[in-house]
C-alpha cells in the first residue's frame, strides 16, 4: 500500500466521525469493505434473493441500507447470480423505479431496493392501480393487522395469526416480497454486530502510524494507540455494551452511522495526531473514556450517552472513596499497573469514568449500585421469565395511583381493576380530582414484548425499548399503552408521591387515551352505579352509589 493510499484510508476513517465517509454511496468499495461486518441479516437477504424473492430495505437515513445492498449485490454477483438493484431511490422518480422492478420481473431476476420510508410510501401509492404491484401496495397500505410494514414487529400471537392468514389469502405472491425495516434493528445492543464492528474500527486505528516530522513536541505517549488497546479489551467492550444497552432501553435509537461515529471518536476524536494535542488538551482528555462524554462531540448518540449515564456523575459508594484516596480497587487498568490519586474533582470524575470501563466487576453489578430501583424494575419488564401477571398488576396499581394517589394501597382491587379515570372541566388547567365510574379487569390485560415477525426468520435482533400493556388477544388498533422508560418512570414517580399536576402532560394524555379506549370495551350501564372520586384537594378517595331504578343515593355514613 503506498503512502497516498494510506492517507486516504486515514482520512476516510477519521471522517467517519463526521458521518460523511459513512455514506455508502460515497465510499469506495475497498473502504466500505474495511468497515463491513458480516451479519445474519445479510446472509438471509442473499438467501431470499436466491430463492427468487424481491427484497426492499427500508429505514431512516444512516441505517445501513445502501451498505447492505452493495454487500449483498457483490456477494450475489460473485456467486454468478443475476439480480436488479436500486440503491439511489431518492434520485429516481417512482415511475423509473417501478419500471426497473417490472423489467426485473420480466427477466425473472430478483429485485433489491434500498429506500427510505417516505419515498417508499410514495412508491406504493404510485403502484396503487397496477395489478402487478398489488401485493406491494397492500404491504404498505392495508389494515395494520395485514400490513407488512406495521407487522414487521409483532406483539401478540394473535397478531401473527392474523398476519399469516392474510399472507395465505394472497397466496405465493405475498411470500415473494420481503420488506426489511432497518429502523427496528438493535444497532446498539446486538453484540454480534457491535463487537465485530469495534474490532474492525480498532483494526484500522491500530494501523494509523505517526509521521515523525508532524508530531507535536509534547507527544510522548500516543492516545490513539492507548484507545486502540482499551477498546480491544473484552472488559472495556463489555462495559461499553452495557452503556449502549442502557441508552437503547431509554428509547434512544441510533443508526449504524451514529454507532460508527461514536467508536471512531472514542478512538481518535475524529482528528489526526497533530490536532489531538491542540487546545491544551492532555492525555486524559484524549482518552476513550472521556471522549465518550466529550461535550464537543456532535451527534444524537453522544447526546443520548451524556444524558442517560455518565459514570462520572453518579455516586458509587462502594468505590468512590477509594478512587479519591488513590487506594486499590478491583480494576485492570489498561496500560498501567496503578493510577495516581486524582488532584481535583474533575480528575476524580475522569477516573470514575475510567473505573467504570476498566472495572473487573460485572456491568450489571456496577449499574445496580449507581442506578435507581426504578431502572432495575424497568429492565425486569424485558425479562420474559418474570411473572408477567404480577407485572400487569403492578402497572394497573401504578396507573390507579397516578390518578388517585391517596387511595388505600392495601385495597387489592387497585391491582385487579384498572379504573377508567376521568376528569371534567371545560377550561384548560388543573382539575379538582378524578372520578371513575367503570373499570377494566386486570385479568384481561397482558404485557406484550416486541418481537420480529417470524416471516423474517430471526434475520436481525430488534430494538427493544418498551413493552405493550394491551388487552388480551391484542391486535393493532386495540387498546394499548406503550410502557417505555418515560411512562414507567412517571408511573413510578406517581406511586412515590409525585402529584399529577407536575407530571409531563403527554404522559397524562397517553394514559387518558388508553383509558378512553378501554371505555369502549366495557358496559355503560349498571342498575346501581358506584362513582369513585379521587379528591386531590382534600387528599382522599370517596365513593358515591346511585340506584338508577329507585333514583336515590345508597349507603353513606
Amino acid at each position: 500500500m503506498d503512502n497516498h493510499q494510506k492517507v486516504s484510508l486515514e482520512e476516510y476513517f477519521l471522517d467517519l466521525y463526521n458521518g460523511h465517509s459513512g455514506i455508502a454511496e460515497k465510499a469506495s468499495e475497498d473502504n466500505r469493505a474495511r468497515i463491513h461486518v458480516d451479519t445474519l441479516l445479510e446472509s438471509k437477504i442473499t438467501e431470499w434473493l436466491r430463492a427468487g424473492r424481491d427484497v426492499i430495505l427500508t429505514g431512516s437515513p444512516g441505517d445501513g441500507k445502501t451498505h447492505l445492498l452493495q454487500q449483498v449485490k457483490a456477494d450475489m454477483e460473485q456467486r454468478g447470480r443475476e439480480l436488479q438493484t436500486e440503491q439511489d431511490a431518492s434520485q429516481k422518480t417512482g415511475e423509473e423505479i417501478l419500471l426497473k422492478w417490472k423489467m426485473a420481473q420480466a427477466q425473472g431476476m430478483p429485485f433489491l431496493l434500498a429506500i427510505n420510508h417516505a419515498p417508499l410510501r410514495g412508491l406504493a401509492e404510485l403502484a396503487k392501480d397496477d395489478p402487478q404491484f398489488k401485493v406491494f401496495h397492500d404491504a404498505i397500505f392495508s389494515n395494520p393487522s395485514k400490513s407488512e410494514i406495521t407487522s414487521f414487529v409483532l406483539y401478540s400471537k394473535e397478531q401473527w395469526v392474523e398476519f399469516e392468514k392474510s399472507q395465505q389469502a394472497q397466496g405465493s405472491k405475498a411470500n415473494a416480497l420481503m420488506i426489511a425495516n432497518l429502523t427496528h434493528r438493535a444497532t446498539l445492543t446486538d453484540k454480534k454486530f457491535v463487537l465485530p464492528l469495534i474490532e474492525k474500527l480498532v483494526g484500522i486505528a491500530s494501523n494509523m502510524t505517526c509521521v515523525e516530522r508532524d508530531l507535536p513536541p509534547d507527544c510522548t505517549r500516543c492516545p490513539i494507540q492507548y484507545n486502540v488497546k482499551a477498546l480491544s479489551n473484552g472488559v472495556v467492550q463489555k462495559h461499553l455494551l452495557a452503556i449502549l444497552e442502557l441508552v437503547a432501553r431509554r428509547g434512544h435509537r441510533a443508526t449504524v452511522r451514529d454507532l460508527i461515529a461514536l467508536i471512531v471518536y472514542m478512538l481518535t476524536r475524529g482528528v489526526d495526531c497533530k490536532e489531538l494535542w491542540q487546545e491544551e488538551r492532555d492525555f486524559s482528555d484524549n482518552s476513550y473514556y472521556n471522549l465518550a462524554y466529550d461535550p464537543d462531540a456532535r451527534g444524537k448518540l453522544f447526546e443520548a450517552i451524556r444524558e442517560v449515564f455518565d459514570p462520572g456523575n453518579f455516586a458509587d459508594t462502594a468505590v468512590d472513596l477509594d478512587l479519591w484516596n488513590g487506594s486499590k480497587v478491583d480494576a485492570t487498568w489498561i496500560d498501567e499497573e496503578t493510577v495516581s490519586q486524582p488532584a481535583n474533582l474533575d480528575a476524580l470524575r475522569s477516573l470514575k469514568r475510567r473505573y467504570f470501563f476498566e472495572s473487573n466487576e460485572k456491568s450489571k453489578v456496577l449499574l445496580k449500585r449507581v442506578l435507581s430501583k426504578t431502572e432495575s424494575r424497568f429492565n425486569d419488564l424485558f425479562n420474559e421469565e418474570q411473572d408477567m401477571r404480577r407485572e400487569v398488576e403492578n402497572l394497573v396499581e401504578q396507573i390507579n395511583l397516578f390518578y388517585a394517589p391517596h387511595a388505600n394501597k392495601e385495597d387489592y382491587s387497585y391491582r385487579s381493576q384498572l379504573r377508567l379515570w376521568n376528569s371534567h372541566r371545560y377550561s384548560v388547567g388543573s382539575v379538582p380530582g378524578y372520578f371513575a365510574l367503570r373499570f377494566y379487569s386486570a385479568e384481561n390485560l397482558e404485557l406484550y414484548q416486541p418481537s420480529l415477525n417470524p416471516k423474517y426468520e430471526n434475520a436481525m435482533e430488534i430494538h427493544r425499548d418498551h413493552v405493550l400493556l394491551g388487552t388480551r388477544y391484542w391486535l393493532p388498533g386495540d387498546p394499548s399503552l406503550r410502557i417505555d422508560w418515560e411512562m414507567f418512570q412517571a408511573l413510578a414517580n406517581a406511586a412515590n408521591g409525585t402529584p399529577i399536576d407536575v407530571q409531563p402532560y403527554h404522559i397524562l394524555r397517553r394514559l387518558d387515551l388508553f383509558l378512553q379506549q378501554l371505555g369502549l370495551l366495557v358496559s355503560n350501564y349498571a342498575p346501581i352505579e358506584t362513582i369513585e372520586w379521587s379528591d386531590h384537594a382534600r387528599r382522599n378517595v370517596v365513593r358515591l352509589r346511585v340506584n338508577r331504578n329507585e333514583r336515590q343515593y345508597e349507603g353513606g355514613s
Binding site: 427510505n116 377508567l420 378512553q516 372520586w533 358515591l544
Partner: protein, 498 residues
C-alpha cells in the same frame, strides 16, 4: 325621542353587534358559560334546578330550615325522592363534596342558580345564565342547518340521555349525570329563553343549504367532522370527552368568528402558532398576528358606527352630525352617557381626532369607537382574548398586548379530530397545514410560503429554521398524543383513532 334618551351603549354598540353578529360580546365568558349556552339551545330550554344547586353551592345547607323562607316553600313541594336525596347530601358531606367540586370545577357557580353555569353534562344541568351572550343560540343555528347534522344530533342525544335502558333513549353513561340523578326534576318542562332580536344576516344560507359565509361553513364542517370522529366513543363511555371537545370547538369558533368580523369574507386573520419555545422571530410575529385582532374588531366597530352616524345625519333626527357645533351638542346634550366622566372623555377624544382629520363624521366615528372601550368593561377583542386563554389558544401570563398563539394539547386534539374526516387515509403534516390555513387562518410551518402570507398583513418575516422547528414541535406533540406517526425524512402522518 327626547334628549338623553339616546343611549350611547345601546345605539353605538349593543344594537350593532346584535344585528350584525347575532351575539353580544361585552362580558368575559368562560368555556363552561359557552357550554351552558350551547347545550341549553341544543336541548331547547333550561332547567334552573334549585334542588341540585343547594347541593353544589357549598354556602347553603341542602335541607333548608324554616327560616330559609324562600327555599323552604319550594322544598315542601318537592318529591319524596328529591327530599331524600337532599337529606342524604346533608348527612354525607364527603359525598356532597363530589358534586360540589365537580360541578364547580370551572369556577362559574355563584349564589343564584340563574347566574351560574355548571361544569355540566346533561340537559338537566342547564341554567338561564346569559354569560354566553347568546352565542349558544347563534351556534345552534349553525349546527341545526340541513338534513344531515351529525354534531347537533350527537349533542342532543348525549344531553338528553335517560335514566334506565329504553328502546328510544340511551341511558345516562357519565358520572356527572348519575351523581345528580336523585336530584333531577324530570316532571318540569324546560323553560325557553326569550330573545329580543332576530338572528343576523351572517347566518344566511343558499338554496342548497350551505352557508354563504366561508368561515361559518368551515365552522360547521369542523363540528360535523368532530362529531363523526367522536360518535362511537361518545355513545359508549366517552360522553364527557365528547362534550368537552365540542365545547372547546365552540369556543374556538367563537374566537375565530369574532376576530374576523372586521375582515372581508375572503380573508382570515392569521393565527401564527408559537410552539417552539426558543423561537424568537416566531414569538414576535405571533404576537404581531395576535395584535391584528384588536385592529379587526376596531375596524368593524368603526365602520358600523360611521354608517350609523351617516344614517343619523341623513335622517336629521337630532339635527346634523356633520359639523363641530352639532356634534358637540350631541356629546353634551343628546347622548345619555350614564356616567359624567364618559362625556368628558368623549369630548377630549373628539377634540383630539379633529386635529388629525377634517372630516367631522370620521372624527366622531373614531371617537365613538374608542368610547366603546370606555363605556363597557370589555370589548370584543378582550372577550375574545379571555376565551382564547381559557381554551389554550393564547399564552397565559404574557401582558395583554403581548400574547402569542399556542396550542394546548387538548385544543390540538380537538382541531385534529375536527379536521380529518372519518375513514380517510392519514394526512401529511403539509396537508394539515394547508387545510388549517384555508379554514381557520392557522399557520405553524409546513407550507413554505408562510412569510409571504404574513407579509400580506405586514408581519415581520420569520426565520425559516425556526419555522421548521415549530413544525417539528407540532408533529412531536401530535405523536406524543397518539395522533401522528413520524417517519424518516421528516414525514409525519396524522390520523384519528376512532
Amino acid at each position: 325621542m327626547h334628549k338623553l334618551d339616546f343611549d350611547f351603549r345601546k345605539e353605538f354598540f349593543e344594537d350593532i353587534v346584535k344585528s350584525k353578529l347575532g351575539y353580544t360580546p361585552w362580558i368575559v365568558a368562560a368555556p363552561s358559560h359557552m357550554a351552558n349556552g350551547l347545550f341549553r339551545e341544543i336541548v331547547g330550554g333550561y332547567c334552573n334546578n334549585e334542588v341540585q344547586h343547594r347541593v353544589v353551592n357549598a354556602k347553603t345547607k341542602p335541607v333548608p330550615d324554616v327560616n330559609d323562607h324562600r327555599f323552604y316553600k319550594k322544598y315542601i313541594e318537592l318529591s319524596k325522592q328529591q327530599k331524600t336525596a337532599l337529606k342524604f347530601m346533608q348527612d354525607n358531606s364527603a359525598q356532597r363534596q363530589i358534586l360540589s367540586q365537580t360541578f364547580r370545577a370551572d369556577k362559574t357557580v355563584f349564589t343564584g342558580v340563574g347566574t351560574s353555569s355548571y361544569t355540566l353534562s346533561h340537559a338537566q344541568h342547564t341554567t338561564n345564565d346569559n354569560h354566553d351572550r347568546d352565542f349558544g343560540r347563534w351556534l345552534t343555528h349553525v349546527l341545526q342547518q340541513g338534513e344531515k347534522r351529525p354534531a347537533y344530533k350527537l349533542l342532543y342525544s348525549l344531553l338528553t340521555q335517560g335514566v334506565t335502558r329504553s328502546a328510544d333513549v340511551p341511558p345516562m353513561s357519565d358520572a356527572l349525570s348519575l351523581m345528580t340523578l336523585p336530584l333531577m326534576q324530570w316532571d318540569i318542562e324546560p323553560k325557553q329563553r326569550k330573545y329580543d332580536y332576530d338572528l343576523p344576516a351572517n347566518l344566511t344560507y343558499t338554496t342548497s343549504g350551505s352557508f354563504i359565509s366561508p368561515l361559518i361553513t368551515a365552522i360547521r364542517i369542523a363540528f360535523d367532522r368532530l362529531a363523526e370522529n367522536d360518535h362511537d366513543s361518545a355513545m359508549r363511555n366517552g360522553k364527557l370527552d365528547a362534550l368537552r371537545r365540542m365545547t372547546t370547538l365552540a369556543c374556538f369558533s367563537f374566537y375565530l368568528h369574532l376576530i374576523n368580523i372586521g375582515e372581508p369574507p375572503s380573508r382570515k386573520l392569521p393565527l401564527l402558532l408559537y410552539l417552539e419555545r426558543n423561537s424568537r422571530t416566531i414569538k414576535r410575529s405571533s404576537q404581531e398576528s395576535y395584535r391584528l385582532v384588536r385592529q379587526s374588531t376596531d375596524r368593524f366597530l368603526y365602520n358600523e358606527i360611521r354608517d350609523k352616524v351617516v344614517e343619523l345625519d341623513a335622517h336629521g333626527q337630532f339635527g346634523r352630525w356633520d359639523n363641530q357645533f352639532d356634534i358637540q351638542r350631541h356629546i353634551q346634550e343628546t347622548i345619555n352617557w350614564h356616567r359624567a366622566k364618559l362625556k368628558v372623555d368623549c369630548q377630549t377624544f373628539y377634540d383630539g381626532y379633529r386635529t388629525t382629520t377634517n372630516n367631522e363624521i370620521d372624527a366622531i366615528a373614531h371617537t365613538f369607537t374608542d368610547m366603546v372601550g370606555m363605556a363597557f368593561s370589555e370589548t370584543p377583542a378582550t372577550v375574545a382574548r379571555a376565551l382564547g386563554v381559557k381554551i389554550g389558544l393564547l399564552t397565559r401570563g404574557d401582558r395583554r398586548e403581548n400574547k402569542a398563539y399556542e396550542l394546548h394539547p387538548d385544543l390540538l386534539e380537538v382541531l385534529v379530530r375536527a379536521t380529518i374526516p372519518v375513514g380517510e387515509e392519514p394526512w401529511s403534516i403539509q396537508k394539515l397545514a394547508l387545510y388549517w390555513y384555508d379554514q381557520f387562518g392557522i399557520l405553524f410551518g409546513g407550507l413554505g410560503d408562510e412569510n409571504q402570507k404574513l407579509a400580506e398583513w405586514e408581519i415581520a418575516p420569520i426565520d425559516v429554521n425556526e419555522l421548521k422547528r415549530n413544525e417539528q414541535s407540532l408533529a412531536q406533540q401530535l405523536e406524543l398524543s397518539g395522533y401522528a406517526q413520524s417517519y424518516a425524512d421528516g414525514v409525519v402522518l396524522v390520523s384519528v383513532k376512532r
